[in-house]
């Protein structure tokens, strides 16, 4: 029997992490930690490497890409296009077809739905750079149904290693071409009523006591891409209170059309300025983000969604959690005088704190 290249999130094995990429590793870890992550599995990067080796793609791609001058736009575009065609045009070996079809059928069966809609997501790996961030560099495909389509998008994820931008990025970062490989996540698709992101600190000032939540109607892609101005909330981690709320005019949402395609459409008038999330749901999102932060022991940037198919109280699911990188590297600056009681009492008398010093005119 061929070596197994499927890694289920709920049987996550840390030894496999180098072959899963950041995104799939994180989903496995969060699932094992008991967080409500939609079910799914990863096709490891070893499957990608082995396929490239067996089919001869590896040397063809190396020849095509390694020689190209990435500053020459036309040359880059043509090499990239040719490389992607090579990847998508090469049939998958039967052992991989069997493994992927089997895993997809198992997932569909477990969720009680044939041809379960799934998201197919890229999760790139880099051997020498285990922490390399490829955020946003590679493709994600939503609402994929049937095993044929899953395999088709698996290959598209692989091919997304050869977009012009991805090639250019690797060259900029001095990553060797053959160090980079692609793991692919196949995960039950949530068609959310509302989704968004949450930071376990206030991104405006680095306040670690707050959780900042952006929320908007439909799929999270509208929030992540900046297509809408989301509703924004701050929740105090300790008190659980919602300390700030801004409900925005949410003009568009990403939803399914009648033909199972994800489309961007205008939000009807009455929902545009209505809050996209209830207070209970805000607190549930905050609690989820806090659990992810506690699990990792450092501030997180999470993606979440509200699944209308689940009962209230259990309907918030976690799609992604990454370490927050901006504020968590800084030390909180407190004036030196603060430690000395008298200096700081005098300081506070001179500058009554908080929101109280707002200019009048």
């Amino acid at each position: 029997m061929a070596q197994q290249h499927i890694a289920w999130f709920d049987r996550h094995d840390p030894a496999l992490e180098p072959h899963l990429g950041g995104k799939n590793t994180s989903l496995g870890i969060l699932t094992m930690a008991g967080l409500p992550v939609p079910a799914g599995f990863a096709v490891s990067a070893e499957a990608y490497r082995r396929t490239l080796g067996e089919t001869g793609l590896a040397s063809a791609l190396a020849t095509l890409v390694s020689g190209v001058d990435v500053e020459d736009g036309d040359a880059l575009a043509s090499a990239a296009s040719e490389a992607r065609d090579l990847v998508t045009g090469t049939p998958l070996p039967q052992w991989l077809v069997d493994q992927v079809d089997d895993a997809y059928a198992t997932l569909s069966q477990r969720r009680g739905q044939s041809d379960l809609p799934v998201a197919v997501r890229s999760s790139a790996t880099c051997e020498d750079q285990p922490d390399a961030s490829f955020a946003g560099e590679h493709d994600t495909y939503l609402w994929v149904r049937s095993s044929d389509r899953v395999r088709e998008h698996l290959v598209r994820c692989w091919a997304s290693l050869y977009t012009e931008r991805a090639i250019w990025y690797r060259r900029q970062m001095h990553y060797a071409e053959d160090d980079v490989a692609m793991s692919v996540g196949v995960q039950q698709m949530v068609m959310p009523r509302t989704s968004g992101v949450a930071f376990t600190l206030n991104p405006l000032n680095g306040d670690r006591s707050q959780i900042a939540i952006d929320a908007s109607w439909g799929l999270g892609e509208a929030v992540v891409s900046g297509a809408v101005t989301p509703d924004n909330f701050l929740v105090d981690k300790v008190m659980g209170t919602i300390t700030s709320r801004v409900v925005s005019d949410k003009t568009v949402e990403h939803v399914l059309d009648g033909a199972d395609r994800v489309v961007e459409r205008e939000v009807e008038a009455e929902r545009r300025t209505a809050p996209s999330i209830s207070d209970d749901e805000i607190r549930a999102v905050a609690a989820l983000a806090r659990r992810a932060e506690k699990h990792y022991g450092r501030p997180q940037d999470v993606e979440w969604a509200i699944d209308p198919a689940l009962p209230p109280g259990e309907n918030v699911v976690l799609l992604q959690s990454r370490p927050e990188t901006v504020w968590s590297r800084r030390k909180r600056e407190v004036p030196e005088a603060a430690a000395d009681t008298f200096s700081s009492i005098v300081h506070n008398l001179l500058h009554p704190s908080g929101t109280q010093t707002v200019h009048l005119h």
């Binding site: 407190v334 009681t341 506070n348």
Partner: protein, 602 residues
């Protein structure tokens, strides 16, 4: 939006109130003599303590309180950026103007003096606080011993045989002087620790805001607040009495009328046992005012036993419904510890954590004073002051000077010795006093003036506001901020039906409003209503068991309403400025204690 309030010199006297200036000290009314200075200052009305017109004798307390506050900041502790808080009466309403130190070099120069003087108090807080407790109890004991008796037909024979030489007339003069002195001592001790306590609290507050700019104010208050505090004791006593009544099986005998209740208790042993416990609780806990303690008209439980008895009746009813009255002390403690631990855990370096622990420690040492002084001074002490003044008023009423005992409060404190002298003089010489005729004319005139002043709608502030309010005592003690000044300037129009104030106690509630303007109205509150009041007083505590939320016109995060609502787990929005003006009883409200928003839903 206008950018200034009326000048005090633009404000007109209401019809019928002509001559009101004579009812207050000459140094505490606006005058041409200091016009330029007075017009250059920004004055705000103290809605927290004195939202209503002030009768002449009651101004004694305010004169003392504000002047002594200034003495401490300016002359005792040398608070670097602040001198005193100036005070003026305008149409009978009190306006305040904190005086900052503006020259940075002078502020700098005051710092070492402050460190030395205030430092002594911080370093020796516990010893000094124990001594304070003895001093204040001593002052109160002396107040309790004050006694005004009618002058006798003949001096007692012992005055002759003991060769005393001093008689009842002189003693009455001395007794009043002593009452004024003791009132002054009460208020001196009131401020001995208060601003230092607030300063230490503010230091912890400021540090938390540096660590966590968005931390809710109420979280900081919860970390510091005491759990077993004397100010809560009167309410605790009522709960204990309700519990005892149920245990003894005499609960159904308790009604809102104290005399009926006590008569019903007299019939058997259980009833007598309960009545003894009721008597036991009186001293000192029923020296508890239903108002702020600043007005002679604030009703004290000891003198109006129907008030506490009514509260006990409602507690008995709550017990009958199976509700628990006990404050879950352990749960409150555990919650406070959890909050402290979780914030502390968010601090990622040891140095800041040590500073946090140190400041929290100091704030907790000083804060019991901030919470408790109110019971000893405003409630227990002032109950005695008003009671003794009323005794003197009754004596002069019996002598024909006044129509009722309370008329004495229409005299300025320096006019009372004249009235005593008049009474003494007539008695000594053996001729009728002038008082009955003189005060018989003057009291009705003053009553008419006060009536006219009471119906005057006082502007929230006077003069040109500073661009930014940074004077620490405005912010700390009165919650006057740049935002509140802006809201006052914006006036009371709220086209979208919303009001904003301090997010004083978390939670969200909806319900019908009940606008209550004073303690006498609190019995109208129904289960589930939202209390809308200018402010609340500690003695209102029993109503917090049945309301859904609280909204006040004045007060900040440490105001009474805020503290009690956090205790009871009710949402509260304080300092909205216009709630009692804009909201009508019966309107449905949504109160968001997390954000400080109040919305009128219909």
């Amino acid at each position: 939006m206008p950018d200034r309030f009326p000048s005090p010199f633009e404000v007109v006297t209401p019809t019928g109130a002509e001559g009101w200036e004579e009812l207050y000290g000459y140094s505490t009314v606006f005058s041409e003599d200091r016009r330029e200075l007075e017009e250059s200052m920004f004055w705000f009305m103290d809605g927290v303590h004195t939202p209503e017109a002030i009768e002449p004798w009651d101004a004694t307390v305010l004169d003392f309180a504000l002047t002594f506050l200034g003495q401490y900041t300016t002359r005792h502790y040398v608070i670097p950026p602040a001198l005193g808080v100036d005070i003026r009466y305008l149409n009978g309403h009190m306006y305040l103007s904190p005086v900052p130190v503006t020259d940075p070099a002078e502020i700098e120069a005051r710092v070492p003096e402050f460190a030395e003087r205030a430092g002594h108090y911080f370093a020796n807080w516990s010893t000094l606080y124990d001594a304070w407790m003895d001093k204040i109890k001593g002052v109160i004991a002396e107040l309790e011993a004050i006694d005004f008796q009618p002058l006798p037909h003949r001096e007692d024979m012992s005055v002759i045989t003991e060769g005393r030489g001093i008689g009842s007339g002189q003693l009455m003069m001395f007794e009043y002087d002593k009452l004024v002195q003791l009132t002054a001592k009460l208020w001196a001790h009131h401020f001995e620790f208060l601003n230092l306590g607030y300063a230490a609290y503010l230091d912890f507050f400021g540090f938390c805001k540096q660590l966590w700019p968005s931390i809710p104010d109420q979280a900081i208050a919860k970390m510091v607040a005491g759990i077993e505090v004397d100010l809560f004791r009167p309410d605790e006593e009522l709960k204990k009495l309700a519990q005892l009544a149920v245990e003894l099986g005499v609960g159904e005998r308790i009604s809102g009328v104290a005399a009926d209740t006590l008569a019903a208790m007299d019939g058997d042993e259980a009833g007598k046992q309960w009545a003894a416990a009721w008597d036991e609780a009186h001293h000192p806990w029923f020296n508890f005012s239903s108002g702020s303690g600043f007005y002679h008209s604030d009703k004290v439980w000891a003198e109006y036993p129907d008030i506490p008895m009514g509260f006990i009746a409602s507690y008995v009813a709550a017990l009958g419904r199976g509700e628990s009255l006990a404050r879950p002390i352990e749960a409150i403690e555990a919650e406070r510890d959890r909050i402290v631990a979780e914030y502390s855990e968010l601090i990622d370096d040891d140095e800041n954590r040590a500073t946090f622990d140190g400041k929290l420690g100091l704030a907790r040492v000083v804060f019991p004073y901030v919470e408790n002084h109110n019971f000893y001074v405003e409630h227990w002490g002032m109950s005695q002051v008003w009671g003794k003044m009323r005794q003197l008023g009754q004596l002069l009423t019996d002598a024909g000077f006044f129509g009722t005992a309370d008329d004495i409060f229409l005299l300025r404190r320096n006019e009372v010795p004249d009235a005593i002298f008049d009474y003494f003089h007539g008695w000594a010489v053996g001729i009728p006093s002038r008082g009955p005729a003189y005060w018989g004319r003057e009291i009705p005139r003053r009553q008419a003036i006060m009536q006219a002043l009471r119906s005057w709608s006082a502007p929230p502030a006077l003069g040109v506001p500073p661009e930014v309010i940074t004077e620490p005592f405005s912010v700390m003690l009165w919650g006057v901020t740049s935002d509140s000044v802006k809201a006052w300037l914006g006036g009371s129009d709220n086209p979208d039906g919303t009001l904003s104030g301090f997010a004083a106690s978390p939670g969200v509630a909806e319900g019908p409003a009940r606008v209550i303007l004073g303690a006498e109205g609190i019995s109208e509150l129904q289960e589930g209503e939202i209390l809308v009041a200018p402010l609340t007083a500690p003695s209102w505590a029993p109503v917090f068991g049945k309301i859904a939320a609280t909204v006040t016109d004045v007060g900040g995060i440490m105001s009474h309403a805020a503290i009690v609502c956090r205790e009871y787990g009710l949402p509260a929005v304080t300092g909205t400025a216009f709630a009692t003006k804009n909201i009508k009883t019966g309107q449905r409200l949504s109160v968001d204690g997390n954000t400080g928003q109040v919305t009128v839903l219909d």
